[in-house]
């Protein structure tokens, strides 16, 4: 299965991400061991120059990883045609369950890399590198995830063969599947919809409050809310947004939203949710470092961008989620 063009692209992409991250990590170790901001030695100057290299390496790795996550979803969806019993990406992932772990590592990287990029941006702009040690410690924590992603992806693609009979989304996303997905599906829309609506209102209100007041407590609230919003958003997609798009009360598979038949609506839907959540996550977690004098002003300036971006992205997510509910043909009682 390795000789599929999409698979080759993914393996090349992940291989390069690992190479870039390892190069960054090696420099990171040197920086962590020899960093002395009070020194004006040649060694310190060389280390400061190398921080630029690391920032470019990781930025490129992030962009490749974002592209890789989208390409992975489309490739596993494209591969389903080769398996008996598969109808979308779910079937391809079930053909070798390691695929679900690949999806998890890709999600982890897409969610965590932007935090590093934001931290790095602040650090470089500050001029006196106030969070350089924290930044490189975080980089060393991210590198194993990139490595795991590459290894798992290789294992996944090596392990799937066209003669595997797999199970389709109809069995995984059904009430009787006996898995977490089955529990989510069995939640009635009468419960999940009000939860989603309430969470959305609270989240947007908290974002607006933070943007206007900049109160430290509001930043903490927004940061703690964001993982919850991500979870509720994903449950809403499985529970009723997908159903409304398919106009089929029994069909809950989120992966069909990424197919041409549904105008690839899954991509903007999930991307806007992820952008909103990641941007909202940042203000609160930077509170501990915001006290450092050189960073305070920079963080205040960046927060405005993050919060505005989060509000815009979440509004877009709500628009995509509400569209089929408002303009679709499926009666609400059937959801």
């Amino acid at each position: 299965m390795i000789l599929h063009p999409g698979v080759l692209g993914l393996l090349i992409g992940s291989g390069l991400v690992v190479a870039l991250m390892l190069a960054g990590a090696v420099i990171g170790v040197r920086v962590l061991s020899g960093w002395d901001p009070s020194s004006a030695s040649e060694h310190q100057l060389a280390l400061e120059r190398r921080t630029y290299l690391v920032s470019v390496l990781v930025s490129v790795a992030l962009w490749i990883e974002i592209g890789s996550a989208l390409l992975f979803i489309h490739t596993v969806d494209d591969l389903h045609e080769l398996f008996v019993g598969a109808m979308c990406a779910t079937g391809s992932l079930n053909a070798n369950p390691v695929g679900w772990w690949v999806l998890a590592t890709k999600a982890a990287m897409v969610l965590l890399f932007p935090v590093w990029i934001a931290l790095n941006r602040l650090d470089q702009r500050a001029g006196d590198y106030p969070v350089v040690r924290l930044k490189y410690a975080l980089l060393l924590a991210l590198t194993p995830i990139a490595l795991a992603d590459f290894v798992l992806q290789l294992r996944y693609f090596r392990g799937i063969e066209p003669d595997i009979i797999t199970s389709c989304c109809g069995s995984l996303f059904s009430e009787s599947s006996g898995k977490v997905t089955g529990d989510v599906v069995s939640l009635p829309a009468g419960l999940t919809f009000p939860t989603f609506a309430a969470t959305s209102v609270i989240f947007l209100a908290a974002l607006a409050w933070t943007l206007l007041s900049r109160h430290p407590a509001s930043k903490i609230v927004v940061t703690f809310l964001s993982p919850l919003v991500l979870a509720v958003g994903l449950i809403a997609i499985v529970s009723f947004i997908s159903v409304a798009y398919y106009e089929l009360p029994t069909h809950h598979c989120p992966f069909d939203l990424f197919q041409a038949g549904n105008l690839y609506v899954g991509y903007p839907l999930v991307t806007s949710l992820v952008v909103a959540v990641v941007a909202a996550f940042l203000p609160g977690i930077f509170l501990p470092v915001a006290r450092r004098t050189s960073l305070g002003g920079l963080i205040t300036k960046s927060e405005r961008t993050w919060l505005t971006l989060s509000i815009a992205a979440y509004s877009l997510f709500i628009a995509f989620a509400a569209w089929p509910l408002v303009f679709g043909n499926l009666a609400w009682e059937l959801m």
């Binding site: 063009p5 993914l10 992409g13 890789s68």
Partner: protein, 385 residues
């Protein structure tokens, strides 16, 4: 925003100052994109053509196997299968190959049946008498025959048989009919030397698509020496084969891709004295390392997008206008009477994404370190020489 646009403007001016070096990179880069894109466009087109052709194919084909080989099947088996619920019809098919020593080509012989209705005739009709035949465009061109003319074919008993041409097939069905000669079912059985009461295989029509696999299992249970082949199996095999072939070609081409990446690395590393001086002056007048890195990034974006567009246009012309003359011999197998390929222009955004991943991503990764090296150049060191 204005700052970024100014840096982009500077990047464009900087690229124009070294036209030879940059056009050399773009030429190699665009060629790399064109090769990758041609392979992917062509395989996708063939897969699409195959999928469209199989829309009219029987849901199930039943063959008989002896010693692992495909042998003629009893027509009587069809009557038993026809009695299965959900089976709406079973049709014995008579087909095979004959080698024509004069033109050194293999011709496909087929008996006319109801399935033929899906193939369009350019002129004339299907044969109704044993002495008549309808021929594909390739056979017609080879023999110089047209409706009203004659063809001579060598049958199973190595006797030359004369057939009157009563119809020729349309070119859109080339992929099916190029090397085809159709005669009446009885005449085809006789010509191919099939024993009395035997057919090459049985085409089974199933009313409900969901029941195809069940019918196939029932056929296998009732006739253990049979091999039922479902339409979706054939399509899946085609998909797998063409994915594999395109991947194989890309793997063969990976040497070229690595050479391109090394070239990109080399060109990005080998800064001329003039370029180093330029960066040195920029830093002396106040640009910081981040600005120079952005300048290098914009240069990369301009080179990559120009090459990508040029490469994709080249690949589209090669595949969709010229019919991929450089790739078809490797992708479609071996034969004398090849159908002419006219792939329907269709570009999937997914393919563009995959092409980007196979070409742009390695280029960007290869130029990261050299860009940084250029960006951290010490102005003092460069300006003093």
């Amino acid at each position: 925003m204005r700052r970024h646009l100014k840096i982009l403007d500077f990047a464009l001016a900087s690229l124009q100052r070294r036209p030879f070096k940059n056009w050399a990179i773009i030429a190699v880069y665009a060629f790399t994109v064109a090769v990758v894109a041609s392979v992917l466009f062509l395989t996708q087109s063939i897969r699409r053509e195959a999928a469209q052709l199989f829309v009219g194919a029987p849901e199930l084909t039943v063959q008989r196997m002896v010693g692992g080989r495909h042998v003629p099947i009893d027509i009587g088996v069809g009557e038993t299968i026809a009695a299965f619920p959900s089976v709406v019809g079973v049709e014995p098919r008579f087909w095979g190959y004959t080698y024509d020593a004069v033109t050194e080509s293999t011709i496909t012989i087929m008996g006319a049946g109801p399935g033929m209705a899906t193939i369009d005739l350019v002129e004339g009709r299907l044969p109704t008498r044993p002495t008549e035949s309808a021929i594909g465009a390739g056979v017609a061109a080879m023999w110089g025959a047209e409706v009203g003319g004659e063809v001579i074919l060598v049958d199973a008993a190595t006797t030359g048989v004369l057939y009157e041409v009563v119809g020729t097939f349309e070119s859109p069905s080339d992929i099916l009919t190029n090397d085809l000669v159709v005669m009446t079912a009885e005449e085809a059985a006789l010509f191919l030397g099939l024993p009395e009461g035997k057919a090459t295989d049985l085409a089974v029509r199933v009313a409900n698509d969901n029941e195809i696999d069940t019918i196939a299992a029932k056929v296998k249970r009732a006739f253990p020496d049979s091999r039922p082949i479902t339409r979706s199996e054939v399509l899946r095999t085609y998909d797998a084969v063409f994915h594999w072939r395109s991947g194989m070609m890309l793997a063969v081409f990976s040497g070229g891709l690595i050479a391109f990446v090394i070239l990109a690395w080399d060109k990005a590393t080998g800064l001329s004295a003039e370029e180093r001086r330029e960066i040195g002056i920029l830093k002396a007048v106040g640009w910081d390392t981040g600005d120079v890195l952005e300048l290098k990034m914009w240069e990369g974006v301009v080179i990559s997008s120009t090459s990508l567009i040029l490469g994709l246009i080249t690949a589209m012309v090669h595949v969709f206008v010229l019919g991929a003359p450089l790739l078809t011999p490797m992708l479609r197998g071996w034969s004398v009477l090849f159908p002419e390929l006219h792939p329907t222009p269709h570009v999937d955004p997914y393919l563009l994404f995959a092409i980007g991943f196979l070409t742009v991503v390695p280029y960007v990764a290869a130029t990261v370190a050299p860009s940084w090296k250029a960006a951290v150049t010490d102005p003092d060191e460069v300006v003093r020489g």
